[in-house]
Symmetry: C2
Subunit: 248 residues, 2 copies
Amino acid sequence: MPGKLQKNPDHPLTKLALADFKVGVDNVIFSVDTDQNRLLVLLVMRHQEPYMGYWSLPGTLVRQGESLEDAAYRVLAEKIRVNHLYLEQLYTFGGPHRDPREDAQAYDVRYLSVSHFALVRFEEATLIADGVCGIAWYPLAQVPRLAFDHHQILSYGYQRLRNKLEYSPIAFDVLPEVFTLGDLYQLYVAVLGEGFADYSNFRARLLKLGFLQDTGHKTSRGAGRPASLYRFNAEAFATCQDKPMVFI
Amino acid sequence: MPGKLQKNPDHPLTKLALADFKVGVDNVIFSVDTDQNRLLVLLVMRHQEPYMGYWSLPGTLVRQGESLEDAAYRVLAEKIRVNHLYLEQLYTFGGPHRDPREDAQAYDVRYLSVSHFALVRFEEATLIADGVCGIAWYPLAQVPRLAFDHHQILSYGYQRLRNKLEYSPIAFDVLPEVFTLGDLYQLYVAVLGEGFADYSNFRARLLKLGFLQDTGHKTSRGAGRPASLYRFNAEAFATCQDKPMVFI
DNA sequence: GCAAAAGTGTTCCGACTACACCCATGC
DNA sequence: GCATGGGTGTAGTCGGAACACTTTTGC
C-alpha cells in the first residue's frame, strides 16, 4: 500500500506530496414509470472531452462554498424539474487514474467523485433540454456503455435502491400524496422484479404496520372494483420505527 | 476551468469558481476487548492546530498517487500494528467550514473527509507510540470531546458496525483462527449490548447456518465444561450467502 | 458435592406463504 | 353476465424467544 508512482516514484519527496483534488458529484437518478412498469435511470450525453459522445451519469464539480449535498441537488435541478424526491450520498470513488484528465495534466490534480443516489417522482419530472439535447431516461436493462467508471457507480446505486426499498419508506417520497395499494405494489414490482411477494400478502403486511392511513376516498380506474386511497402517515411511522420493519 | 479564486464570497464569479480540495481520510477504528467485554475506539491526540490538545480520530491527507483505501490503510498502519482486520469506506463529509483551516485561508482550499470504518483484532494490536505519545483505546461510553466533526463520524461508524455485525461475517475477521462459540457470543454482546439474544438461541442459529466447522478440538478455560473449537469456513459461507442471513 | 460454563431440547407464538374466495365496478 | 382488479380469510409451515434441562470440567 505504499504511494505509487508519479513522475519519479523513487524521489523521496514524492511520497510526502499531498494530492490536490477537484471534487465531483455524480448522481444515480432513478425513477419508476408505473404505467409501463419500468425502472429508469437518467443519463446525459457528454459534449466535451473526455468521453465526448458517451452517455454518463449527470454530474458536476463542486463549487466554492457549496456542500456536497448542495452540489448533488444542483446537478439534479439542472437536468430535471421535480418537486418530490429522495436523495442520499452513495459512495466516494477516488482512486488515481479514474479520470483521464489526471493523466493529461501530469498528476497535479486528482478527480474524485462523491456519488449520490436519488429517486424522483416520474409523473412530475420534466427533463430540461439544454439546447443540444442529450438527456434521457433509460430502462436499466438498456443502459449503453457509460463514461468513466459510471457503470460501477450505477450498479452500486441500483443495489442501494433495492436495499432501501426493503426497509425504508422512500417509496412514499415519490408516490402522490394519496395512492392505492396497487400503486405501491407496482412500484415495488418495477424495482425488485416479479415474485418478491404476493400482492395480498404485501398488502396485509403493509397495513399491519399501521402507518398507512385510509383516506376514506376511493378511485376508479377503468374496469375493476374501485381502490381505497391511502396516505403515508409520517408520525405514525416514526413511532414504530425502532422495531425492525421489512416491507419486502 | 478557472484558476484562482476570489476571497470575496459575494462576488458573482465566486459562485462559479470551483473549489480546490485537500482530501483527508479519517478512520473509526474499533476493537473488542473480550476479557473486559468492552467495545473500544482508537483515538489520537492532536499535536498541531487546529484543535491542538484535542483527541480525534486518526486521519491523514491523501497523497499523490494514493487511493482512498490505501490512505486509510496507511493511517491505520501508522498507529497500530495489526494483521487481522476489516475495513470499508463509511461516508464522506465535505461541507464548507467543517475545518477551521478553510476560514484561515479564505476559501482557497476546502478540506473533505472520506471516513472509513475498521474493526481490528484486539489481542494482536499493538499501539505505535509516536514519541510524544497520545494514542489510546477508549471505551465508547467514555469518549471525550473530539476535534472537528469527529463525533458525528464516530456515531456514524458505530451504527455501521452494529449493522454489519448483524448480516455480515466481519466478526470472523477479528476472531482467532479457531474460537469457541462463547468467544463469538462475547464479541456480539460487547458490541450490541446485553439482551440481543439468548446464548443458546444464538448458538443454535449460527450452527444451523452451516459455515462454522467443528475442528474436533476442545479448550478448557478455568472452570466449566470444555468448549468445542470452531473455524469459519469461507467457502461454505459463500455458497449460502444469497439467502438472507441474520445473526442478530 | 458444588459451582461454572458448555451444550441440548421443548414449548409457545407470531410471521410469512400460498392459496382460495368474496366484492364492486365497466362494458 | 363476465372480465378485471380490489380486498379478505385461512391452513400450513417455518423460525425465533424463552426457558428448562443435561453434560463436563475445576476445586
